[in-house]
Structures are given as structure tokens and as C-alpha cells.
């Protein structure tokens, strides 16, 4: 039970990082980006690629399984993931943005998600991979509860990122512009905000967080081309549960989805774990479509 809660919080924090980017893009770009979860996969594999090219030329930083190389690789992966997001925006979403039916964008992202997943499969192959072959020893912290140092790192990093992002949105001009744009794009332009610039930064931030989320997933679980496909529903569930456009909500939503997935195994067969986010999603849509914390762009029409 205790272990399930700890595991749930861990996977919840990874979902939360992905969901923050998704909720920002859904709130600011105003469409459900089916390709967002693929950015998570892309980020994870880009870090793997950088590690493979540079080699693990330094030992791990005890007690973690990774060292400076993975941290550097993650930074590169963030840049490469942001680059992919911007390239997709320019190549696919920009030409579709003017169309009368905005679902055309959703459709486009749906096609893009397949392309990104298959390109990763083509480059890296379909098998499971790991950043490091070092086996970590779980530290017993309480009866029936063991935690890996990497998991503690994951939690700590998530907390730091969430606080930093909150300060960014509250205190900086760009953060303010993002919140203004999420509420009313036309009024934002009237106020002198260049929406193109804000959209660009939204992609960069969302994609960078997705990359971190992917690396943490790879670190604590494993790397597979299907990471994104399996994360898509949890991310959407977390973003909608927390209120679309609401960063804090996405974090709480992510934790709830992670915990629910992890605790569900105590009641239903493990095979159905992936359906839990869907159940949460349906429940939210039936009971409170604006999410727990009404987002800037609520679900109701």
C-alpha cells in the first residue's frame, strides 16, 4: 500500500511535467495536441542518443545511477525537443491554423503523433533500452517501502520545476503575456502582445518540460517508442482534471492520475491499469468538465 502510494507519486510527478506542457499548449494554442506525448518520447530518446555519442565519460554522481553526462544530455535533449516542436509548428500547424474548423489542427497533430513515433522506432528500434546498466539498490525508508535515489531525485526536480514555472508565470512579462493570451488572444494583440513570439515560447517551454519528463521516465522505468502513446491519455486526463491552462492544476491532476493508476492495481487486474486515466477522464467530463481548478479555458462551451 505504502509502496503503491510512493510509486504513484513518482509516476504522477512524471505525468505532471508532461501535463504542464500540454495544459499550456491547450490553453494558449487552443487545441488538443495529440503529438505532445510524442515529445516526451522524443526527449527521452534524444538524451539516449547524446549519451551514446558522447559516451559515459564520467562516473555516476553517487548515490544516483547517472552522472554529469546524463544531465548534459538532458539539456541537449531539451533543445532538440523544442526544435522538433517548433519545426512541427512551422511545417504542419502554421498552414492549418487559418482553417475554419480548428479541429483540423487536432487532426494534424494526430497524424504527426504517428510520424514522430515511427521515426523514433526507425532510428532507435523497438526494444526497451536504459540510460545506464548500473543497478541501483533501493533504500528501505519504512516497513514495506523502498525508494531508489533516482526516484527521490525525480520528485525533487519536479518540485523545483513547478515552483520555478509558477514564479515565471506570475512575475515575468512573458509569463504575464502567456496568461493574457490564454484568456483572450485578440485582446492580447490589442494590448501589444506579439502572439507569434508568445506561441514560440509556449512551444519551447512545453517541449523542454516534455523532454525532462521523458528522461525521468527513461531513468525510473525504461525507454520504449510507445512511451508517448501510453502517456497520452494520462496527460490529457491530468490536464483536463486540473483545468485546461492551469499549471498548478496540471500538477495536482498528474499526481491524482499517477496515484489512481498505481493504487488501482490493488483492486483491479494490472492489465487494466492503462484504462484508469480514461475512467478519470470520463468522470471529470461528466461531473466537472472545467476541472477541479477551473482553467483559463474551461471545458464548457
Amino acid at each position: 500500500m505504502l509502496q503503491a502510494i510512493a510509486d504513484g507519486i513518482l509516476s504522477g510527478s512524471i505525468i505532471a511535467l508532461g501535463a504542464i506542457g500540454l495544459t499550456l499548449t491547450m490553453g494558449i494554442l487552443r487545441f488538443a495536441n495529440f503529438a505532445h506525448a510524442e515529445l516526451v518520447t522524443w526527449g527521452a530518446y534524444m538524451a539516449l542518443g547524446v549519451l551514446a555519442l558522447t559516451g559515459a565519460f564520467m562516473g555516476p554522481l553517487e548515490p544516483f545511477s547517472f552522472g554529469v553526462p546524463l544531465i548534459m544530455a538532458t539539456l541537449v535533449a531539451m533543445v532538440l525537443t523544442a526544435a522538433l516542436a517548433l519545426a512541427i509548428d512551422w511545417l504542419v500547424y502554421r498552414p492549418l491554423r487559418g482553417r475554419a474548423n480548428h479541429l483540423t489542427l487536432v487532426f494534424g497533430s494526430f497524424g504527426v503523433s504517428l510520424l514522430v513515433r515511427m521515426i523514433i522506432l526507425l532510428i532507435f528500434g523497438g526494444g526497451a533500452q536504459y540510460y545506464s546498466n548500473t543497478l541501483q539498490i533501493a533504500i528501505p525508508v519504512a516497513p514495506g517501502l523502498r525508494i531508489l535515489p533516482d526516484q527521490v531525485f525525480t520528485l525533487g526536480l519536479t518540485a523545483v520545476i513547478v515552483v520555478a514555472l509558477h514564479l515565471f508565470l506570475q512575475k515575468t512579462r512573458l509569463g504575464l503575456a502567456m496568461r493574457a493570451l490564454a484568456e483572450n488572444p485578440e485582446l492580447a494583440r490589442v494590448n501589444g502582445i506579439d502572439t507569434k513570439v508568445v506561441v514560440r515560447w509556449t512551444w519551447i517551454i512545453g517541449a523542454s518540460l516534455a523532454a525532462i519528463s521523458g528522461v525521468l521516465y527513461g531513468l525510473t522505468v525504461q525507454l520504449r517508442p510507445e512511451i508517448g502513446f501510453h502517456l497520452l491519455l494520462p496527460l490529457f486526463a491530468a490536464a483536463i482534471l486540473g483545468g485546461v491552462g492551469n499549471v498548478f492544476g496540471a500538477v495536482i491532476g498528474g499526481l491524482i492520475v499517477g496515484l489512481a493508476e498505481s493504487l488501482s492495481v490493488l483492486v483491479i487486474p494490472a492489465g487494466y491499469k492503462l484504462a484508469v486515466p480514461f475512467m478519470i477522464l470520463l468522470l471529470v467530463l461528466y461531473i466537472r468538465p472545467t476541472g477541479i481548478f477551473a482553467g483559463t479555458v474551461g471545458g464548457a462551451k
Binding site: 512579462r173 493574457a180 484568456e183 485582446l187 490589442v190 501589444g192
Partner: protein
Amino acid sequence: MTAPLLAVDGVVAGYRPDLPIIHGISLTVAPEEMVTIIGPNGAGKSTLIKAVAGILPISRGTVRLAGKEITNLPTHRMASVSMAYVPQVANVFTTLTINENLKVGATALSKEDAARRIERGYEAFPDLKKFRHKKAGVLSGGQRQMLAVARALLTEPRLLMLDEPSAGLSPLMVSDVFQRLKALVDTGVAILMVEQNAKAALAISHRTYVFAEGRNRIDGPSQEMASNEEVTSIYLGAGGRKR
């Protein structure tokens, strides 16, 4: 006559290029002049202002500000040509605080200028200062209008465009808003506004344009227009709501 500040010439515009709402409208606004546009529903009054502000695409005709062509100006660059626009509804960010609304309005300014001018804005609108850390969503219609105007003035525009500043306000608030606009003109700002409250608009503005079906109908000094038979019978009698 002095050279116009704003010169709109034969503008055709609408939400879609193939479906124009205004079909060749022309008008001018002189420096420090207050001009109103009146007309029945669907006359294209708001469309014209939105086209000048770069919100709606112009498919033919030109817009000049102080002699410089600004046709299809990107909306976010309005401040750079010394122009500001206050939309009719949804004219403030309800999820941001009053202070944040003003900060967003000062996007085009340096941080130092922004802080200084926001302070000056609070001096001009002391009510806003009281609520500075409240969400704009809690403000009344009149207070929102004040906030929207205060925000538009941050960039010190030479031309201020307003879409129905009196919409949804009590008669008392209407006269308050109009007095403030009048005072603004005295400080050197030119105003172009759309009004459905034709009587009040004719009473305070210098000149008035009447639009009908997306075209210029008649125009002239507001005093003359107020006694023009056509205007009085059609527009002052039945003050139809603008869409």
C-alpha cells in the same frame, strides 16, 4: 483644414476577404478631434474600427496615420504608430489583476516607462488603485471601461479608438465616461468612437459619420447632424442596438 491624423480611404473589409462587410468606407480624424460613427445594426461601424486596428483584414483601400500608410498593420504594433483601441466587450483580462492588466497593456514600453505610466494611470483613475491587486473579473461594467481606457492610454496614443464605450453602462456612468473622453481630447488625444447612443455622441463629438449597409451615408459637424432631418428621424428616434 489641418492635415488629418487618421485618413481612411475606400476601405473594403470583413471577417473573410470574400465576404466584405464594409464596401469602400472613407473618413478622416483631425488631431485633437472627437469623431463618432453612428448607424443602424450591421452598418459596419465596428468592422471599420477593427479593420483600422488590424484585427480584420482589409482587402481594398488604404489607412494612413499622420501621413504614413498603416493598412493591415499587425494589431500588436498599434502602439508603435501611436494608436490605441478599446474593444466593446471583453475589454479587460478577467483572470488577471488590475495591476497585471495594466502591465500587459504596457507591453510595448520599457519596464521603467511602464512602471512610471502605470503610477500616473492610477493617479488619473484612483478607483483602480484601490483594487489594484483584485482580479479584473470582479469589476463592474463602468470600472472595466475605466480600466480599459486607462490601459489604452499607457502608450500615450495620439489616436484612441473606442467601440461603444457606453454599452451596458448606467446613464450616470455614461455621462462620466463621456466627460472623461472629452477631457482627454482637451489634452491632445484624437478620438474615433462607435456609438449606438447617438444623442449623447452627437452632443459631445466634433464631427459625426453615419454609416449604412457598409457605406458612408452622410457626415458633418455633430451640431449640424443633430438637426439633420434624416439623422433625427432614423437614428435618434429608434436607437437600435448595434451588433
